[in-house]
């Protein structure tokens, strides 16, 4: 019986593919990898005693290097590793991910439940890849996997010089058979350009680049290039269509569309029949029109093979429809042709309104924001309003942890001893002065984690004060370290500010949060 819903259960899947292990079992949520790993471990064991001993040894070594590696949350993982089963997702601490990866490379994991990130970059080939489902949440909506995404993962199947073929298995879920994915390498999606003009892009262009270079970005970026190319292709197609239409005109006989012509006559006859229907008969004008048609039809029909004319007329309608579709597309392309110039000017105007620039000249705020690459406006305002230099460092750590953080639905952190209302007020006033929402992304939620870490709390304490997974805590602090480095660079001559952020950064970059192996 499937414990996590839907048949076949992962145990049945593994049973069906047991000749093709090790397998990477892809799912699209972290929780699912853990549930499935747990479920499989109740029924299956893949390792011989000698191998189990090797696993235990590697686990011991890793724990010696980092005590509390498995913590309270991963005791189950530690247990199933000895059965040759594991899971891997972004919620794990880097040290634990590293252990799982090393065990996998040593061929001590037979089924690895993982999320998409396992398929990017570093090559971990397997005998087979399994797709638990073919739909994922992409930050906006649930959607089917693209061909490109599917093959990025599926392509991990097949170890070079080892497996004659790589086996790919897609699970057909009995509850959602309609969601079963079918993919083809022939249908991999083309790469499209999606340039975004950020405040930093505008400041960098104004400060370092000539007008000519600015235009190069706005007029020659990939999206514009692709649109222009498509436009040229459409123009060509339209010219060809016009030629074909002209050619068709010559097919018609001189009497086409006169009362002697079969095509016009059959059209008129049809109209006559329709006017004879009850619902139309009484309408004003109907009688006169019928009379008119009857008179027209009195003309003798031309004796001719009307086929070529009728055929040409049909083709003509076809071509006309294709033409109008292309013209519509052309209008859409035309309406986008100045998008980037418009976006650029919009951000430039905003920066001028906020006194970051004056024409092409960068003012102090602009010079500061030039060195920032995340939430440039919000961070600059925090600094210029004294939120970084003049506050206690633990509070600064809390404030900056929330920059660019969008809380998930279930994220929970115990509130800290600090009041972050002032930041919220600053954010509100920025929004009121016309700064768009996506340039003011901030949340008070992760703050207490950062201030506690600054004050010397242990990683376990951080875990106990929130429901964040280890990998999430790690990335909140690492992102803050990244931001602090940016502010340090932006501080320039302001040595007091620089000392403050450097001090915070050094206190944050320690122990479990330090990048392993570097």
């Amino acid at each position: 019986m499937a414990l996590t819903g839907g048949n076949p259960s992962c145990s049945e899947v593994i049973n069906a593919i047991q000749d093709h292990l090790p397998a990477l079992y892809f799912t699209f949520s972290r929780g699912k990898t853990e549930l499935l790993a747990d479920e499989l471990s109740r029924e299956w064991d893949f390792l011989f005693p000698r191998e189990k001993e090797r696993v235990r040894e590697m686990v011991r070594e890793a724990e010696a290097a980092q005590p509390g590696l498995f913590g309270p949350r991963r005791s189950k993982l530690k247990q199933i590793l000895t059965q040759g089963i594991a899971y891997h997702h972004a919620g794990l601490s880097p040290a634990l991910k590293d252990l799982v990866e090393r065990l996998y490379e040593k061929r001590l994991i037979y089924v690895l439940f993982c999320t998409e990130t396992f398929a990017v970059g570093v090559n971990f080939p397997a005998a087979s890849t399994v797709f638990d489902a073919c739909r994922k949440w992409d930050g906006r909506e649930f959607r089917g996997l693209l061909n490109r995404e599917f093959f990025q993962m599926a392509g991990r199947a097949g170890r070079r010089g080892f497996d004659p073929v790589g086996m790919v298995y897609v699970r057909v879920d009995d509850r959602f058979p309609e969601q079963t994915g079918f993919y083809s390498e022939e249908e991999i999606e083309p790469v499209r350009g999606h340039l975004i003009i950020s405040p930093n892009t505008v400041l960098s262009l104004l400060y370092w680049k000539t007008d000519e270079e600015i235009n190069r970005l706005l007029e020659q970026n990939l999206a514009v290039y692709q649109n222009n190319r498509e436009g040229r292709k459409i123009k060509q197609d339209l010219a060809e269509l016009d030629e074909k239409l002209a050619g068709l005109r010559e097919v018609f006989c001189p009497q086409v569309d006169t009362p002697a012509c079969y095509i016009l006559r059959s059209k008129l006859k049809k109209e006559l029949r329709s006017l004879a229907r009850k619902n139309k008969r009484g309408r004003p004008g109907t009688r006169e029109r019928r009379e008119e048609i009857r008179n027209l039809l009195k003309t003798a029909q031309k004796k001719c093979h009307h086929r070529p004319c009728a055929e040409a007329r049909r083709k003509q309608a076809d071509l006309a429809e294709r033409k109008s579709r292309l013209e519509r597309r052309m209008r859409v392309l035309g309406s986008h042709s100045r998008d980037y110039e418009r976006d650029f000017n919009r951000v430039w105007d905003l920066l001028e309104d906020l006194s970051y620039v004056e024409g092409r000249k960068l003012l102090p705020r602009g010079m500061f924001a030039l060195h920032l690459h995340v939430q440039e406006i919000l961070v600059t305002e925090l600094v210029f309003n004294g939120f970084v230099r003049d506050m206690p460092p633990a509070l600064v750590a809390a404030i900056l942890a929330g920059v660019d953080y969008i809380p998930g639905r279930d994220d929970r952190v115990d509130p800290g001893p600090y009041n972050l209302r002032e930041v919220e007020l600053l954010r509100k006033s920025l929004l009121r002065s016309g700064v768009p929402e996506n340039f003011c992304v901030w949340s008070p939620l992760p703050g207490p984690l950062a201030s506690a870490w600054y004050e010397g709390a242990s990683f376990e304490e951080l875990q106990s004060m929130s429901n964040f997974q280890e990998g999430d805590i790690f990335s909140v602090i690492r992102r803050e370290i990244d931001l602090l480095r940016q502010i340090e660079r932006a501080a320039g001559e302001d040595s007091e500010l620089r000392r403050q952020v450097e001090h915070i950064r050094r206190r944050l970059d320690r122990d479990e949060v330090a990048v392993p192996g570097i």
């Binding site: 199947a157 790589g166 079918f182 083309p190 350009g193 999606h194 990939l222």
Partner: protein, 255 residues
């Protein structure tokens, strides 16, 4: 409940057939494939190169050959990757291959050995350098963009575009990408913005071909035709008494 739990524990776990047990781990490819050979040669001739090949065909090997030659020539080279964790991993790999002294790592939150001849960076950092300190790239002959198809990423693609457009003009572009149908279009775009030709090297064959299968709710392994038929029947059964699609029904009424 607890009785059942105990029974579970006592039950012997299932073991798979282990046909591959004891076989040695496969060694990496030693000789270059023809497509790798072509790519490396074009790079040595000083061309901009775009390599598109399926995962696992050895694009990394091309990068490594190039890095070897550049370092041997006493020049520098930049390697960018889309993900921080990947940059860290690459830094460790390259340190093992070429010696830690030769390799630097810059990812925003980490900065090691910034003056090394081989610099591993995130694409965002490379983009920032192109604006703020292009002189740091004076001695670099190439920039390698791993996973170049990230150009398509809605949030992050901009970093790749700005890097390609604003990389100093003496730096050659090397793009490594998964298979994409419009690789030639991307190449001609790069050629236009760089004002230099870009060679395209495409490998469509996988080193190990894939075999696609589906697994039915009963645990049977199905081929594509069977799977499509299976799904069709399932859906039809779900539609219940309207087993025949409405359109066909209408047509039948005329008969």
């Amino acid at each position: 409940m607890s009785v059942q739990k105990d029974r579970f524990r006592q039950k012997a776990k299932r073991r798979p057939l282990r046909r591959d047990a004891g076989k040695p781990a496969p060694g990496g490819p030693i000789r270059l494939d023809p497509f790798q050979e072509t790519a490396v040669n074009s790079l040595m001739e000083g061309h901009n190169v775009l390599v598109a090949a399926p995962t696992g065909t050895g694009k990394t090997l091309i990068a490594e050959k190039l890095i070897e030659r550049v370092l041997a020539g006493g020049r520098g080279i930049v390697y960018t990757s889309p993900i921080k964790a990947l940059s860290n991993q690459k830094y460790r790999d390259f340190s093992g291959l070429y010696g830690a002294g030769k390799v630097g790592l810059i990812t925003g939150d980490v900065s090691v050995n910034e003056r090394a001849p081989l610099l591993v960076m995130t694409t965002e950092i490379f983009r920032n350098w192109c604006f703020a300190n292009p002189e740091m790239l004076d001695d670099m002959t190439h920039v390698i963009f791993d996973e170049l198809h990230y150009l398509d990423d809605r949030e992050r693609g901009t970093a790749w575009e700005e890097s390609i457009i604003f990389a100093p003009s003496h730096v050659k572009i090397v793009g490594l990408s998964a298979t994409v149908p419009n690789v030639r279009e991307i190449a001609s775009w790069i050629a236009e913005v760089r004002g230099e030709p870009v060679k395209v090297i495409e490998e469509r064959c996988r080193a190990v071909p894939l075999e696609m299968n589906w697994i039915s709710p009963e645990g049977r392994v199905l081929g594509e035709a069977e799977a499509r038929e299976y799904v069709r029947q399932r859906l039809e059964r779900r539609r219940g008494r309207w087993a025949v699609p409405p359109d066909e029904e209408a047509e039948m009424a005329y008969d």
